[in-house]
């Protein structure tokens, strides 16, 4: 199997005080999402506002890090930090708690992937303050 993990870039994300808890948790090996304390809505992308009910009252909660593939593609023409990567898998994953997140599927033969396939989160360090949540096929 190709060791995709070692050749995927890990660009440092832009971190603001609003989103720092997400990246800090990822660095510590947790997938934390904001949830609305008023309506319990899982918020994605991470932000300090619930678009579902208009509340500013949100809290960070750890989620399972498990989910399934909504869609995926093998990209052959990357841009920016991915420009020199021969190819990589970009995917949308529906995590079990209800958010649909853009990510990469790693450590998997792209030809073996299917929509609906179960996946689980892994973390790739990106600079001193963050790690990127990516996903691998669940065993």
């Amino acid at each position: 199997m190709v060791d995709i993990k070692t050749r995927l870039p890990t660009p440092e994300p832009f971190i603001s005080p609003e989103t720092r808890p997400f990246w800090t948790a990822a660095k510590q090996g947790r997938l934390d999402l904001p949830f609305c304390k008023s309506c319990n809505h899982p918020i994605w992308y991470p932000k300090a506002f619930c678009g579902a009910c208009g509340s500013l009252d949100v809290e960070w909660r750890q989620v399972s890090g498990e989910g399934k593939i909504y869609s995926y593609t093998q990209v052959h023409r990357g841009e920016g930090p991915y420009r020199d990567v021969e190819n990589y898998v970009l995917a949308l994953v529906d995590i079990d708690e209800g958010a649909r997140v853009l990510t990469n599927i790693v450590d998997a033969d792209p030809a073996s992937l299917t929509i609906g396939q179960r996946v689980r989160v892994v973390f790739h360090e990106a600079g001193d303050a963050a790690a990127l949540p990516r996903f691998v096929p669940a065993k």
């Binding site: 660009p11 994300p13 994605w44 093998q74």
Partner: protein
């Protein structure tokens, strides 16, 4: 209140060049402005409303100075490639409200040979959670295409049929970047960009732009040009702010019925459609969402030859973004220009729709994770 019949498109211009290495972006705006105003029989002195995406310099203000305009109304709406369709609707509303009488909309872009680098993530709240994964326009639309295939059985060959139809038209457009006719086999055998999208499933990348002049009925009557009426306009934004966003439909499901209702016409009355074609899948989904075929049937619809001159609905008779022109990754303005050509009977003769009275132009700005859909219904003065 409705904008129906309250404003007319009096002038249009599509810059004939596709590669402008020695032009500045503002020069392209200026050439397009003069082109559209000349088409209308007006001059820059007549302009009292100015519409642009505001991407150049200090919003739209820099261009008003460059062009020597003194507008009483300015709009810098930016919704990606659909911006210019929004501008026409906004201009019609401003004219109907008496805020201006001659609205100028301009586009100018230079992107050929520019290597796309890292996106600026600090000022866009969603980017930090997307660009780090190598998100690209083609990659996002590929996610949509694969999901559409999964849900509806759409095939790569059906996607390719959209490009084939565009190339059949583009062969007659002397300004089209790609004039060579292609086959389904050519498309599916072209290099993979982001599977299932091949290179020929993707729009062209061009310099250039265009301009549109929207005027009040009083001004319109004073001009010696065939008039095109703005009959209906509607916008819809689709995103994940309320929960997961599906990737198999577009905002056209919401914008098209409202635009048609404002125009007071049925979809079956439409003679010609300009449909945003960033990728082949964009056209298939939009045709479904506009209502030209049932959801999920877009693949079979396009493969049946529906987009041809003798088909159910002629689409993108200039060759579209897939073959003709897609300046600065924003194809919305050119979509309007071709609809106006059709309604005036000024399309390339081989691609002119017979007795074209009503047209819809639809833009999809942004991508599939979030998008701004704009539908515009235009009609000949006797429609």
């Amino acid at each position: 209140m409705s904008i129906r019949g309250k404003a007319h498109i009096a002038g249009v211009y599509e810059h004939p060049a596709r590669d402008l290495p020695d032009h500045s972006v503002q020069q392209i705006h200026a050439e397009c402005a003069i082109g559209a105003l000349a088409d209308a029989g007006l001059s820059v002195r007549d302009v009292d409303g100015f519409f642009s995406t505001g991407q150049l310099g200090f919003g739209g203000v820099s261009l008003t100075e460059y062009l020597g305009l003194n507008p009483s109304y300015i709009d810098g709406t930016f919704t990606g490639g659909s911006s210019y369709l929004a501008h026409v609707g906004h201009a019609a509303a401003a004219i109907a409200a008496g805020k201006c009488r001659v609205a100028l909309i301009t586009q100018g872009a230079k992107v050929r040979g520019v290597i796309r680098g890292a996106k600026h993530t600090a000022d866009t709240p969603e980017f930090p959670f997307e660009t780090v994964y190598g998100e690209t326009n083609a990659g996002i639309y590929a996610l949509a295409a694969r999901r559409h295939m999964h849900e509806f059985g759409t095939t790569a060959e059906q996607l390719a049929a959209v490009k084939v139809a565009a190339s059949e038209y583009a062969q007659f457009n002397p300004h089209a970047l790609l004039r060579k006719r292609v086959t389904v086999e050519d498309v599916v055998n072209s290099p993979m960009i982001a599977d299932p999208l091949h290179r020929l499933d993707c729009c062209v990348v061009t310099d250039g732009g265009g301009a549109i002049v929207v005027v009040s009925p009083e001004i319109a009557r004073s001009l010696n040009r065939p008039l095109v009426s703005v009959l209906g306009h509607a916008e819809a934004i689709k995103h994940s702010g309320l929960g997961p966003n599906d990737l198999t439909s577009t905002g056209a499901t919401a914008s098209a019925p409202r635009a048609l209702a404002e125009a007071g016409v049925a979809l079956s009355d439409i003679d010609y459609a300009s449909i945003y074609d960033s990728f082949t899948i964009t056209v298939i989904m939009t045709l479904e969402d506009l209502g030209f075929c049932k959801k999920g049937q877009g693949g079979a619809f396009v493969a049946s030859g529906a987009l041809g001159l003798d088909g159910v609905i002629p689409v993108n008779t200039d060759g579209g973004g897939l073959c003709n022109n897609h300046p600065g990754y924003q194809g919305g303005l050119v979509k309007i220009v071709e609809a106006v050509r059709q309604l005036r009977g000024e399309a390339t003769p081989q691609t002119q729709v017979r007795d074209c009275k009503l047209a819809i132009a639809h833009g999809t700005g942004g991508g599939m994770l979030r998008q701004a859909s704009v539908s515009l219904v235009l009609g000949r003065s006797d429609a």
